[in-house]
């Protein structure tokens, strides 16, 4: 099967590599910036496109990977569905739940497979936490805390810095944790959120959520794009008989360069695994495309995650909880 990558930034390049690792051919790379498309295409001798629609419609393409800024996801999902291609779309599924609903309807109508990359479900440590909870090791779970983030992503001109496009740390980054909490503990009941969403004098965002689930579990979730450097994930789940904890800064490998190309040095923790979570989500997606299995995450799940993130931002604005 042949793959087209739409949006050749950080994630586009990563997914090209994952697809190739799965034995697929990357045949088209499209990016609004021609140079980005060309450099992503080069290692695969793929065709570079400046206009994504050309890549999507290309006859030899079977799977379209959408890794453009979030507000453009829907447009390319609709085009890919119309062209009869299977779709791998990065999270957040869309910039609004309405966009997600239209995308789901289009994929259904065209009878194509639409997968959304909620990759945290495939992270080894998150699988291990879920397995511990489900094995009863902590008794009945009553509270979970998740913490994710670090430095504000993207350069000064990046779409990440436009809250209207990215939705800030709550919509772009915490959405991973919102999805995972629902994956493990079921549907949410209500959500309360405080978000900084600052532009000046320095752009930074910090989001603090309290969420009550239908099964009464309480979740506390913190997302940060307010740190001067680094990236860190922490998880803690407490129950009637114990607790389970994870901290990414406590890693098997860590390096600290004396000098770095971009400013101050920092400790970079690394946790190597034989098969990366991104690879695993590709295998899951392909199992579905090839009719061998159903995927761990559905477009419906991704829509729910967007609805939760939307509710969080609504709550932050109203300074009151929002029912889900």
């Amino acid at each position: 099967m042949n793959v087209a990558i739409i949006g050749c930034g950080g994630m586009g390049r990563l997914h090209a590599e994952m697809a190739a690792n799965c034995g697929l051919r990357v045949v088209a790379c499209a990016d609004a910036v021609r140079k980005a498309a060309m450099s992503a295409a080069a290692p695969y001798r793929a065709k570079a496109f400046e206009n994504p629609m050309g890549a999507i419609k290309s006859k030899e393409v079977d799977i379209v990977v959408i890794t453009t800024p979030t507000p453009t996801h829907e447009k390319y999902v609709l085009a890919a569905a119309k062209a009869g291609k299977h779709i791998f779309c990065e999270k957040p599924f869309g910039r609004s739940s309405l966009e997600c609903k239209r995308s789901i309807a289009a994929a259904k109508k065209a009878d194509v497979k639409l997968f959304v990359g909620h990759v945290v479900r495939y992270f080894h440590e998150f699988e291990a936490i879920k397995a511990q909870i489900e094995s009863g090791a902590i008794g009945e779970a009553g509270w979970v805390k998740l913490y994710r983030g670090g430095i504000y992503p993207g350069n000064a001109k990046s779409w990440f810095r436009d809250y209207a496009q990215s939705g800030g740390v709550t919509f772009d980054c915490m959405i991973h944790d919102l999805d995972w909490v629902r994956y493990v503990f079921g549907e949410p009941k209500r959500i309360f959120c405080q978000a900084l969403l600052r532009k000046t004098p320095t752009q930074l965002d910090y989001s603090q959520v309290t969420m009550r689930m239908k099964n009464d579990v309480i979740a506390t979730i913190i997302g940060t794009w307010a740190h001067p450097s680094g990236f860190r994930v922490k998880v803690e789940a407490c129950g009637s008989k114990g607790m389970v904890q994870f901290d990414s800064s406590d890693a098997p490998v860590s390096g600290e360069a004396r000098k770095t190309a971009s400013g101050p040095t920092m400790i970079v923790p690394m946790s190597p695994v034989a098969v990366s979570p991104y690879q695993r989500e590709w295998e899951d997606f392909l199992g579905w495309v090839e009719g061998r299995s159903v995927p761990r995450v559905t477009a419906q799940d991704a829509l729910r995650a967007v609805q939760m993130a939307e509710a969080a931002l609504q709550s932050a604005e109203k300074r009151q909880p929002v029912k889900l």
Binding site: Q194, T220, M243, P321
Partner: protein
Amino acid sequence: MTKIGIMSFAHMHAHSYAECLNRLPGVELVAIWDDDAKRGRKMAKEFGAPFVKDRDKFLARELDGVIITAENVKHRALVEAAAAAGLWILCEKPLATTVKDAKAMVKACKKAKIGLGTAFPCRYSLPLMTAKDMLDSGAYGEVYSVACTNHGQSPGGWFADEALSGGGATMDHTVHGVDLLRWMLGKEFTQVYCELGNQFHKETMKTDDLGSMNMEMEGGIQVSHIASWSRPQSFPTWGDVTMEFICENGVLNVDAFNQKVIVYNDKTKHAGWAAWGDNPDLGLILDFVSAVRDKRDPVISGIDGLRATEVTAAAYKSSKTKKAVKV
């Protein structure tokens, strides 16, 4: 010699306060009263002070001040009695379980012209004092957001009996974080949202054992705080006080009790933490004793206790109304 008495050893902090009194020069622990006579006699023996069974006789002794470490709901009656006897008072936190009680206690002490202090020893924790100094230096600039935790193991006993404690972990562990932030940032709390419940101990108690709060302070500072008894029995230590400050010029993290060595002991079959940091209680007791001598209010006053109780009350109200409520 400053003469101090202790009223009730129901709260385990009384042990540390008694030790501090015995360590400090110029102070004497002169008598112990307890409505549990058995406990009172035992403590009297342990700390080398006479036990006085009758409360009025205790208050009539030659005393300058008392430390009240009874069950939460008993604080008010004891404070009022000690104030009427003209004694300086240091009251365990939470000062009271209701705003009404806290106000009455502050009023009674004012009327009696005696000093009332609330036991918030965290203000004397060196890691937390250092963090305050760093914020005060201005190097970090304006504070925008704070994420706090005050976790603990379940203390059980009367703490888990609402009739005596007034509430669970949210009652027990909200006030430290609240008082620390009022002190560090010099601002008051304005709004509280709280989800709370009995999340871990349904089989052994009825009160809440976790509260997850989102609060606002003057100037729009966003604060999350977790008050919990979520640490399992196998956890290596009693709990924590942590704070992450998101500021204009950087991020500041404090883990107040993270001065420890890790101990692996085959007898206990799990790892434990042995703390080596300075005991913050000593600063608290030293200030109280000086306040008694100088006839002034302790640095952490009854008003501070009242303000913290107002926030806790708002948290419980929010959990009932399922709305963010004004403080």
